[in-house]
Amino acid sequence: MVEESQSLGGKVITKPFMVLAALVLVGVILMLYRYLFGLGAVTNLSDGYPWGLWITYDVLVGTALGCGGYAMALLVYIFNRWEYHPLVRSAILTSVFGYTLAGLAIFLDIGRYWNGYNLFLPWHVNFNSVLVEVALCIAAYVAILWIELAPTVLAGHHQNPKAREARESLERWLPVIVALGILLPTMHQSSLGTLMIIAGHKLSPLWQTGLLPLFFLLSAITMGFAVTIFESILSSLAFKRPFETPMIAKVGGVMAWIIGVYLVIRLLDLLVRGQMGLIFQGNLNSFMFILENLCYLVAFILMVQPASRDQLRWLFVASTAMLLAGSLYRFNAFLVGFNPGPGWSYFPALPEIFITLGIIALELMGYLYFVKRYPVLPKIEHA
């Protein structure tokens, strides 16, 4: 088997690594505080805004940033574009961390975590609940992602004959695992949008629509491509490796068309529902809607023209714009556009923010460790 990836080697414990570790430590201390004194002690959540930063960032944005593995698997295995295969491993690695930590963040957020196992008991589960679909599907996908990552870990121990054997038997199951790895995110990323349907009038009509599942799915796929480009550029810079420009530029081209389709449906939906007027009301909702879709538009314009997307600088700007656009869409649809009625307001508390920072830091530490110890990034000669 020809290896197209390699481990970077080098010291794992560096200065940035220690800074990240300090952030994780702060997060862990605050988490202990949360378990001892309740959610009110560390968050600004309220009966009006029961979901805040943790659900919106850690789960909604976190898993969308973890859609690199999903988006790349679609491209390589379904659309048969094997030229992108070198990017798959690092995409899966980011997905593993994005999703695993989102799963853990849920246990931080739910108030009665010791009852969490009830989600897996069929006689308690309410199959009408959108949240059931989301929870079971994310749990299953976390397992699939670790199985998808396993060949990378096993390849890191290639001198061990048992590891090689395990890897070969895993590869026989590849089609099933990959098929599940595409189906599950399709299901739960769309369901994350469906979650808000039941909130009805509490969500502004700028975001409340029957097409929420479609918009969440399409934005998850585009964010998946964007995060793959973003991560490729950053790791090339950080580890002083050659840029993967022609390949990631082509990914950008694919992404542009999905953004285009998304934007057309998004505006048509507002038009059909007669809610275009809400864009121009000059309030926070209008502003955030415009900002969100401007980011989409910037990403679209930069990615759709070969002239700009072939330049690394613009490719980077475009992928950042797309990540911002998708994140803003999620924040808007769950927090900014959510209005439970007069008297309620929400902005995350400092400890709440620091816990999220701790989770992000843990993700980055895991990424750094893995790319240095295991063959994740594309081999330089091939890049």
Binding site: W82, N128, L131, V178, A179, T194, P213
Partner: protein
């Protein structure tokens, strides 16, 4: 390495299946709105009769063993500002301008009692992932079971009235809400708020009877003397009073798919802080989408099969035998 036409069609078919069901204007498996249970019980609250004495609040606290809430500095008695994990029931005041005349929108005032509406098609029970919130199959009371609740708070997101409350200050928190005093009903009694209401502002009864009573009141001529039952709709104890004009809107008859708590008032309900809701519960909308995509898991299995076929073909470079 190119995408050939056949593959593209297959992919489109698979993805299209999922998208089509989301996009189609009349979903294949629409979840019918739920109808009223034949033996459902509820409460009729008439703001024009209510005198704002808050006896219902005191009774609710006593019979649900809820602690007092001291909301202002130095307060020595229970004075909640809104519903909370310690307060299932509250009487609020609407006041406009000079606030001279009771039950008048302009320069008037009105009381409004807020508590769980015990919806016909509740969003909270549809949202709850572990069936911790359920609708009693007989009485229709929306009840809470802390032993299965995972504390996800999706019920709070879903409820159009923001009724379920969470114990934010507890390490082992629970959801708290009015359960229509089902513990009292189990002993042959009825909700404490209605038993202790001195004026007939809140009455308990079969929802069918409450609907009839509410419509009777809406048909009364303002300024004339009329009889209003006390405590229960089937009570023989009556209070006679002069009818004050009603808004011709029986809140809860259809709002949000209907509720077992019904509200009559002299001031428009949205001025009293009640939301303006369509006639269909958001639970029906949400479940329609979910059932269209996932009923019997047929669509996911079909898509999985298609995905497997394509991946198998693309990885092994051969067609299935």
């Amino acid at each position: 390495m190119e995408i050939n036409r056949r593959d593209f069609l297959k992919v489109s078919a698979g993805g299209g299946l999922m998208l089509a069901s989301t996009l189609s204007p009349i979903p294949a498996l629409a979840r019918e709105p739920k109808v009223r249970l034949p033996e459902a019980v509820g409460i009729l609250y008439d703001a024009t009769v209510c005198v704002g004495c808050k006896a219902c609040m005191a009774a609710c606290k006593e019979y649900n063993h809820l602690p007092p809430e001291y909301s202002t500095p130095g307060s020595v008695w229970d004075n909640p500002l809104d519903l909370s994990a310690k307060t299932y029931n509250i009487v609020k005041l609407y006041k406009n301008g000079a606030g001279e005349v009771k039950d008048r929108e302009i320069n008037g005032y009105s009381y409004i009692r807020r508590f769980c509406m015990h919806c016909v098609d509740p969003a909270c029970t549809s949202a709850c992932p572990v069936s911790a919130l359920t609708k009693d199959p007989k009485t229709g009371a929306v009840k809470y079971n802390k032993d299965v609740c995972i504390g996800c708070r999706y019920c709070q997101v879903a409820c159009p009235y923001n009724i379920p409350k969470f114990q934010w200050d507890q390490a082992f928190p629970q959801i708290q809400k009015c359960e229509l005093c089902y513990h009292r009903m189990a002993q042959g009694s009825y909700p404490a708020c209605c038993e202790f209401c001195p004026n007939g502002g809140s009455i308990f009864g079969d929802v069918q009877h409450l609907l009839e009573e509410a419509k009777r009141r809406l048909a009364l001529e303002p300024g004339k003397m009329a009889a209003y039952p006390l405590h229960r709709v089937d009570s023989r104890e009556m209070r006679h009073r002069i009818v004050t004009p009603y808004q011709k809107h029986l809140f809860g008859e259809k709002d949000g798919g209907g509720s077992q708590v019904l509200i009559l008032a002299g001031v428009p309900c949205d001025k009293l802080g009640l939301p303006i809701l369509p006639d269909e519960s958001t639970a029906a909308t949400s479940e329609t989408i979910m059932h269209s995509l996932y009923k019997g898991m047929i669509a996911p299995y079909v898509v999985l099969g298609a995905l497997f076929y394509i991946v198998y073909k693309n990885t092994t470079k051969q067609d299935l035998p």
